[in-house]
């Protein structure tokens, strides 16, 4: 059985992580673009009003202001929806922040299709691709509340820009407060020799459920929680590729440019094996309940199982 310790939105982990940081490090500033409570930045705002800056609905200005704070030795977190921060302010992130490797931390809230009824305009499905392609940027997609809190608390001490992408809805808590969370290191959650599922964000718990279904079919799968998309844990991916010779990736993002692409780019050049990439298939999202959307767009354990079976066939030369 998959162990689940309740359900909490990952954004709560971001908010709580900011408060913990605020207590121990006076350099931490938080900027918000009129989405203070939905990004949970209000938790920091209440505790440290002097170090909270309301920017209004002005993402580009927010990123530039954060760059100025970083240039002056502060460690700013900018908080808004992932779709706006990575899209609207891309040039600011690229040319002002990444080019000079400034110490700006980006909290991308409401990532993925699970944003739900707000629909396509608010569902960030390209954010990971946009951030991953930038030199100096680091990209973390935590799986649950604890991982989001830990990623937030690590970010200030990772040199240069860091993008943390998390979600709106409640998701199962599958890790514990004391579990290890190392930047840039994947976590092996299940070990099996037949196939490996590499997932991040809310697809990690779906991968764990998929393992149980696969087991009943006599297939033993490894599950890697690859919370850090950049830099990629190449060592772990190579090891697991050599062990299983077949991989399925799963993410709440377009199939282009995200986790699956990162894994495929690496393996195709170093240890080519059959890979299937699960994600949104080059289309926009729509309104609906998060669960309905995950079902409709093929982001479930059942879908992972189907793709695993296909990879098994490819592996066996069928």
């Amino acid at each position: 059985m998959v162990k689940v310790y309740g359900e909490i939105p990952t954004r709560f982990g971001y908010g709580d992580g900011l408060v913990e940081l605020g207590k121990k490090d006076e350099r931490i500033f938080v900027l918000s673009a009129d989405l203070t409570s939905s990004t949970c930045s209000d938790r920091f705002q209440k505790s440290f009003p002097d170090r909270f800056i309301e920017m209004g609905i002005a993402e580009q200005d927010m990123l530039g202001t954060a760059a100025g704070l970083a240039l002056s030795g502060k460690i700013p977190f900018v908080s808004t929806y992932s779709v706006f921060v990575t899209g609207r302010a891309f040039d600011q992130i690229r040319t002002t922040i990444c080019y000079a490797n400034l110490n700006v931390k980006i909290g991308g809230a409401h990532g993925g299709i699970s944003v739900g009824p707000d629909g396509a305009t608010h569902q960030a499905l390209e954010d990971i691709a946009l951030m991953r392609v930038l030199p100096n940027m680091k990209v973390i997609v935590p799986a649950d509340y604890w991982e989001t809190k830990k990623a937030t608390m690590l970010a200030p001490y990772i040199d240069g820009p860091v993008f943390i992408r998390f979600g709106r809805e409640k998701v199962p808590v599958i890790t514990k407060e004391n579990d290890h969370f190392d930047f840039g290191k994947g976590i092996i959650l299940k070990e099996g020799k037949d196939i490996a599922i590499i997932a991040n964000g809310l697809m990690v718990h779906q991968a764990l459920f998929a393992v149980e279904i696969l087991q009943k079919k006599g297939i033993f799968a490894t599950v890697i929680n690859l919370h850090t998309v950049k830099p990629l844990d190449k060592e772990m991916i190579l090891d697991i590729a050599k062990l299983t010779n077949g991989i399925v990736t799963a993410e709440e993002h377009q199939i282009y440019g995200g986790l699956g692409s990162a894994v495929a780019e690496f393996l195709s050049q170093n240890y080519p094996i059959p890979i299937k990439i699960i994600g949104i298939k080059d289309r926009f999202g729509e309104s609906g309940k998060p669960k309905e959307l995950l079902e409709k767009f093929g982001l479930t354990a059942d879908h992972i199982v189907r793709e695993c079976l296909k990879v098994m066939e490819m592996k066996n030369g069928k």
Partner: protein
């Protein structure tokens, strides 16, 4: 060396001539670059770096320094020149501008060049950065000022107005925006491409104090900068009316000199004009 050093107007004028010669020469040697805006801004930069900005060329990250942010990054020949002339790096290095492995990139990069506060080149971003620095200085109770130069054409960018709004809202009286108002941008006259007037009124409505100066008159430039410190609870804009290509007769007010290098003949003609201007100044 520590600045400001309070040069006389004549001394500033001499340095402005010298700076113009460096600008023309470095762009000529590079075979590309932006002379028009570099020449419209240079008198202001010379006055600022010698007579107003608190800075130490041998300690670029001195914490008490005033900051200068060049938002219109393409006129870096002007900034590189004043940085070299005030001692951040050897003047000789200017001839490497835009060449492979040079510290002097086509647009400024803070990780390459001493004295460059922030990388810029994509327009419209500098004032937001200046605001962030200004907020940080205020939080730290550091009394330094943040100067930011923008172009009138650059003010097409929406982000500039977001940042103008932010500075006005937060009453950032340690921010000074210098508008190099040369009236031209690549596609033509600023008035025709996208009108900015009445700029003074627009800025005042965002809670800015506005000072208007003639941007090639060193006395007016000096008087303008002197007024800055007395303004409280408001950011200050200095609208400097300038001439694109100023100082080289055939470049003045010609939009084609926005981003093109002189050929050999043009280079010689430009240098001769500047040298005769210098001699005239010496005679005074």
């Amino acid at each position: 060396m520590e600045y400001p050093i309070g040069l006389s107007i004549i001394e500033l004028k001499k340095r402005a001539y010298m700076a113009r010669k460096h600008i023309i020469k470095m762009i000529y040697l590079a075979g590309s670059g932006h002379p028009g805006g570099s020449l419209s801004a240079i008198d202001i930069l010379v006055a600022l770096y010698y007579n107003f900005l608190r800075h130490r060329s041998d300690e670029p990250d001195w914490n008490e320094r005033d900051r200068f942010i060049l938002s219109k990054g393409h006129i870096c020949p002007a900034l590189y020149t004043v940085l070299a002339m005030t001692g951040y790096f050897p003047v000789e290095e200017l001839k490497t501008f835009r060449k492979i492995d040079s510290n002097l990139q086509g647009h400024p990069h803070m990780l390459k060049t001493a004295g460059i506060e922030v990388s810029s080149g994509s327009l419209g971003q500098g004032l937001s950065i200046a605001n962030g620095i200004a907020m940080s200085l205020k939080y730290d109770k550091n009394s330094a000022y943040v100067y930011c130069m923008v172009g009138d054409g650059e003010m097409d960018e929406g982000q500039i107005w977001e940042a103008i709004s932010t500075a006005g809202h937060y009453k950032l009286d340690n921010v000074i925006m210098i508008v190099d108002f040369n009236g031209l941008q690549i596609d033509g006259k600023v008035d025709e491409v996208k009108n900015k007037n009445p700029l003074k009124k627009r800025l005042e409505s965002f809670n800015w104090e506005v000072i208007e100066i003639a941007g090639h008159n060193l006395k007016e430039i000096i008087d303008g900068f002197k007024k800055v410190n007395s303004v409280k609870n408001k950011p200050v804009a200095i609208i400097a009316k300038t001439i694109k290509g100023k100082g080289i007769s055939f470049m003045e007010n010609k939009v084609q000199w926005h981003g093109r290098a002189p050929n050999e003949e043009e280079f010689k003609k430009a240098m001769a004009e500047l040298e005769s201007g210098e001699e005239h100044l010496d005679a005074i």
